[in-house]
Symmetry: C2
Subunit: 328 residues, 2 copies
């Protein structure tokens, strides 16, 4: 594992720990090497630098219900910080109580994903941010009207000016999206027990979780759930119980994309239930069994399911600091 210059000091401390514990190996070094610890920050795009001003503005906008047509739905309604930054119901409930087609993905660590939405229809968080504002079953808001409402508040004029100092009229859809994306790139959950284990604290996870890690690798789960966010960000066909969702086909209309969904992250999977694109799977154990059957053609036995579940439970990291903003 390379130590990058961008990592924060705490990580250096962990590396030191790794060195000091190197003598006490648990014999699983070859397995650990298949994984990557979660960095403190995802890649930051060149055209959306992560400034304090933009993050502060994005934080405000994330909690701002008046950019919905009802005036009561904000990003934080479905991406609720009290609920793992998701909603813990099968499918999202939005404008006028309408129920969407898919389970709300958490925004935690979403900056690590190679594309956004279950069907990957947007390449990045900048592309994703405005979707739910305009979606008729979510915030159901006309974007022009959302911008007008923001212009109506002096505080937003001030904060947009601070975030985009070179622009004369900075309250634009692009800047709204960029600020939301910048804020979301700060919502990461490093230092999970599994990350501490990868960093060399061999007692950060118990033996059952280690068995689960081994089973996760040996059974091939890691083929798709890999990299720092435990997703390859690729599309794979799956029809989970109760789902008729065509997945990525809806975006590309390519026959080969039928029922394909982007591999979801497994980071914080224990606190982002229910599971699958239709949210019909309530428990992690059921989810593990279904994935074994559907994706790997295997009937996991109870011990394997329990072990993999124990492993998945070690992927819950430190929840991000954030402020409930004082809105104008």
């Amino acid at each position: 594992m390379t130590i990058k210059a961008t990592l924060l000091p705490a990580l250096a401390a962990s590396s030191f720990l790794a060195a000091s514990l190197a003598m006490a190996d648990d014999g699983l070094e070859n397995y650990r090497q298949r994984f990557e610890a979660l960095p403190y920050l995802p890649p930051i795009p060149a055209d959306n630098s992560l400034t304090e001003e933009k993050v502060e503005l994005g934080n405000m906008l994330f909690f701002e219900p008046r950019i919905s047509s009802s005036g009561v739905i904000s990003c934080a309604t479905c991406h609720n910080p009290a609920l793992g930054w998701a909603d813990r119901i099968p499918r999202a409930v939005g404008h006028d109580g309408q129920v969407g087609e898919r389970n709300t993905p958490t925004v935690l660590n979403s900056g690590f994903l190679g594309s956004q939405f279950w069907d990957g229809r947007e390449p990045d968080l900048e592309g994703q941010a405005l979707g739910p504002i305009e979606a008729p079953v979510e915030m159901a808001m006309d974007l022009e009207m959302a911008l007008e409402r923001l212009v109506g508040f002096e505080l937003y004029q001030e904060k947009f000016n601070a975030a985009y100092p070179d622009q004369e009229e900075p309250i634009t859809d692009d800047n709204l999206a960029h600020a939301l994306a910048a804020f979301q790139r700060t919502l990461n959950t490093p230092n999970s027990p599994f990350d501490r284990y990868l960093h060399g604290d061999l007692e950060a996870i118990n033996q059952q979780a280690k068995d689960g890690m081994v089973a996760f690798v040996d059974n091939g789960c890691i083929a798709c759930h890999r990299g720092p966010a435990l997703t390859d960000s690729q599309f794979h066909a799956i029809q989970v119980p109760g789902s008729t969702d065509l997945g990525r086909y809806v975006v590309t209309e390519e026959e080969s994309d039928k029922y394909r969904f982007r591999t979801p992250t497994l980071r914080n999977v224990a606190v982002t239930y229910p599971y699958m694109n239709n949210g019909a799977t309530e428990t992690l154990k059921e989810a593990v069994a279904i994935m074994g059957k559907e994706m790997l053609g295997r009937e996991f036995d109870d011990d394997t399911i329990s072990a993999i579940t124990a492993f998945l439970n070690t992927l819950t990291g430190e929840m991000p600091d954030f402020d409930v903003p004082a809105l104008p």
Copy 2:
């Protein structure tokens, strides 16, 4: 003003300040004596002691959307901490996007009110707490089902047991209400500029606000807006523009209660717009003019409106500390 034993140390410091500044009087001592500073805590009822465990549980329940039938509306949806613990829209939007009849009152300092709801139909926060959960236009939830959902979470079983240690099955509607009420009694906003002024810091508010305080007393606003929360908690008849709401008559069916509403608190009035029972009044200045006309039969001139508004702006206190809880 009596200094009570329950007040926190900061208040003692303010009193010291008061003593040290007593020489520099601004000649308004007789006006100041008409007001009461906001204590740190409202009266605590004998049958609902304010324990840490109950407040923590109440904090969780306040942010818990799964005690609504949609699973996405919590107390904090309309009593949004980002929006002065209210919603800043004219009338509440609840279940399936239904719009209620009245403007959402802030929960800030609500423990200081002599009754709850615009029409005072409940005597206290314990009586108030379950109303919005069951109201078909708000959270639209069957109370039995809400309790069942809570029973389904081990963490709630633990937290209810901790809050009500003497009870075998503590997840009851009464205990739900008591915990919510206990949490809400901690949502107070002491140390506003006006409170600091009352405590002796004569420069905590400017001359225009002092003129406003004088106008507020001399014009008789203080007849109803008095006491620590600036409400007499009595019912007064008023028909504001656009409202046909019968007010307290709906509760008592007494002819004399037609159009009567409990005097709202003026604490934090600057951050809890829009105004009046129907939320049809957008600005504080309009609200002051309307109240002068409707309640006092006076046409305030522009200077008086500006001064009273400046005074009202000094009533915004320190927002309460709270946690966005990690829900199960």
